[in-house]
């Protein structure tokens, strides 16, 4: 792969703006359809299938893609696919919405009242530095096996990014805009609504996306450890019945769920944010440091 590609790419890279002919361009496909990427995934699946069929990969724990597919169809037809996925999706969304709302309100409060920031932020920083996952056993201990405990776990962990990003975003509101608000004698509420919230939107969005990822992870944790329902519990059951192909089905589906939720959130952001604010918020998380 690399030799062919480098041979073709080398002369063109001398002049930076030169465009390399892409597979997609050759067939007049729109740019956002990533033909190479999709082909790579398909190739991976095909290679896996060939390895299993040719008995190179004989382990029971690597079932052939066709076996995974038929297990998936089976599971879907007897109804043991929709219910766990629905449960996990519902818990993720409910927990994420509650956590984001609480995080946003607290963040706006701490960000807009300086005394509150002075007298509370250090506490927030200390509690934040305790890895949130350590509160999972505590919540499990206090609330026992219940849906409530699962939602609390999701809420506690996924609220932090929004809270912290809102506070830090409000600290970086452009000084000129702050002065404008003062000149126009905005009330505190007007300042938050008209200046702080719009200019903090990209950072809040990054927080929302981080929180969403955590919410899915933690709802599965909650189902593995606390509440016997949803995809997490389905995974456990498949493990105990030693049905690797069913496990793969659930893992792939939860990955697709995460992919779709992330894409949906990005779509909303693309519509809701002004073009100037987009670049930051749409960056993959992690790159925004």
């Amino acid at each position: 792969m690399s030799t062919v590609n480098s041979a073709r790419a080398a002369p063109e890279e001398l002049s930076p703006p030169a465009r390399r002919p892409r597979l997609a361009a050759a067939y007049r496909l729109p740019r956002w359809i990533n033909v190479e990427g999709v082909l790579f995934v398909i190739a991976l699946i095909v290679v896996w299938q060939i390895l299993v069929d040719s008995k190179v990969l004989t382990s029971n724990y690597f079932p052939a893609p066709t076996a995974i597919w038929s297990t998936g169809v089976n599971l879907a037809s007897n109804g043991s696919l929709g219910a766990p996925l629905g449960h996990t999706l519902a818990v993720t969304l409910i927990g994420w919405i509650i956590a984001s709302a609480v995080g946003l309100v607290l963040g706006l409060l701490i960000g807009s009242f300086t005394p509150l920031w002075k007298y509370a932020m250090a506490s927030v920083d200390v509690i934040r530095s305790i890895p949130a996952i350590t509160f999972v056993p505590i919540i499990a201990l206090i609330f026992g096996i219940s849906l409530r405990a699962e939602i609390y776990v999701v809420c506690y962990v996924s609220g932090w990014p929004v809270l912290l990003n809102t506070v830090s975003g409000m600290q970086h509101v452009r000084a000129g805009w702050r002065d404008t608000a003062r000149m126009m004698r905005f009330s505190r509420l007007e300042y938050v609504w008209k200046i702080a919230l719009p200019s903090t939107a990209p950072e809040i969005l990054v927080g929302l996306r981080l929180g969403m990822g955590l919410a899915i992870t933690l709802s599965v944790v909650g189902e593995l450890l606390i509440n016997p329902a949803g995809v997490g519990f389905a995974l456990l059951q498949a493990e105990q019945r030693i049905e690797p192909s069913a496990m793969y089905v659930y893992v792939i589906l939860i990955g697709i769920l995460g992919y779709l939720l992330n894409a949906a959130l990005l779509g909303v952001a693309r519509i809701a944010l002004p073009p100037t604010a987009r670049s930051d918020a749409l960056k993959p998380e992690g790159a925004s440091a």
Partner: protein, 272 residues
């Protein structure tokens, strides 16, 4: 805001800055008096809490609660968690840097691996644990695989974006000096992506600790996470809160350590 001379403008701006600084004094490290609410909660918990409560053991019982674990299992738990954390962080950094440079410098690689990596990135690490356990068993290797898969993304994405932003002139310099592929990577690409690596490590260090604990809690194969899990199953809330405090202190030390090391590294590479 119109000033007659540059110097008065400067002075006025400085004064203005200073005043504004005082009014919205919300930058940098929050003052220590902000610890007050936490302190009050802990004092009230100690004074008003039921000292025999099974769920809300007051702070005074936390240290005695840890006593049965001292020293053997507590120290080995701390050691195991810290070791896995460091190993996973190093592995994730190395792999993330290599992969990030690859897809950042090569558009074809980027598009080729894009969807696959995106799918791996959004995959919740908790969902992979059972399947990797099945494949690799309850081993340290399994734990490392899961943690690295979850912790690699900040470094990978940071390196990719700084590799994409290398100035084209710099690449041309390498070409005109007939550097070999390896030399070009070592002398041009790698030094340019160091900020991305360091920024990525700073983000992924706490994430890695979380995933290490997550795997330990889920699989109970050792470390502080396993100790917590056992304490929870025994309804030993005092011990549980004590362990949370220890993990919190570990998290703080880890955070300081990583930011200290990355500052040192930044200065080292900025000097050359």
């Amino acid at each position: 805001m119109t000033a007659t001379t540059a110097s008065t403008t400067g002075a006025r701006d400085a004064r203005h800055q200073q005043r504004r600084g005082r009014e919205t004094d919300q930058s940098g490290i929050p003052p220590l008096r902000g610890l007050l609410p936490l302190f009050i909660v802990i004092v009230i918990w100690q004074l008003a809490g039921n000292s025999h409560s099974a769920y809300y053991a007051p702070p005074g019982r936390w240290i005695p609660g840890l006593a049965p674990l001292w020293p053997g299992s507590l120290l080995s738990g701390i050691g195991q968690t810290a070791l896995t954390w460091i190993e996973a962080l190093v592995l994730a950094t190395v792999l993330g840097t290599v992969l990030g440079m690859m897809i950042g410098r090569n558009k074809f690689c980027d598009r080729l691996l894009g969807p696959f990596l995106e799918f791996c990135r959004v995959m919740p690490s908790s969902a992979i644990v059972p399947i990797v356990v099945l494949i690799a068993g309850y081993t340290i290797r399994m734990q490392l695989a899961v943690v690295v898969l979850g912790a690699i993304w900040p470094v990978l994405l940071g390196v990719r974006s700084s590799a994409q932003r290398i100035r084209p002139q710099l690449i041309d310099v390498g070409r005109s000096m007939h550097l070999s592929r390896w030399e070009a990577v070592r002398k041009i690409t790698f030094p340019s992506v160091i900020p991305g690596v360091l920024g990525g490590i700073r983000i992924s260090a706490p994430i890695t600790l979380v995933i290490v604990l997550l795997v330990e809690i889920l699989t109970q194969i050792g470390g502080l996470g396993a100790l917590m899990s056992v304490a929870q199953q025994n309804y030993n809330s005092a011990q549980l809160y004590g362990l949370v405090c220890i993990i919190g202190i570990m998290g703080l030390i880890a955070g300081w350590g990583v930011s200290y090391l990355s500052r040192r590294a930044e200065r080292y590479w900025a000097g050359t």
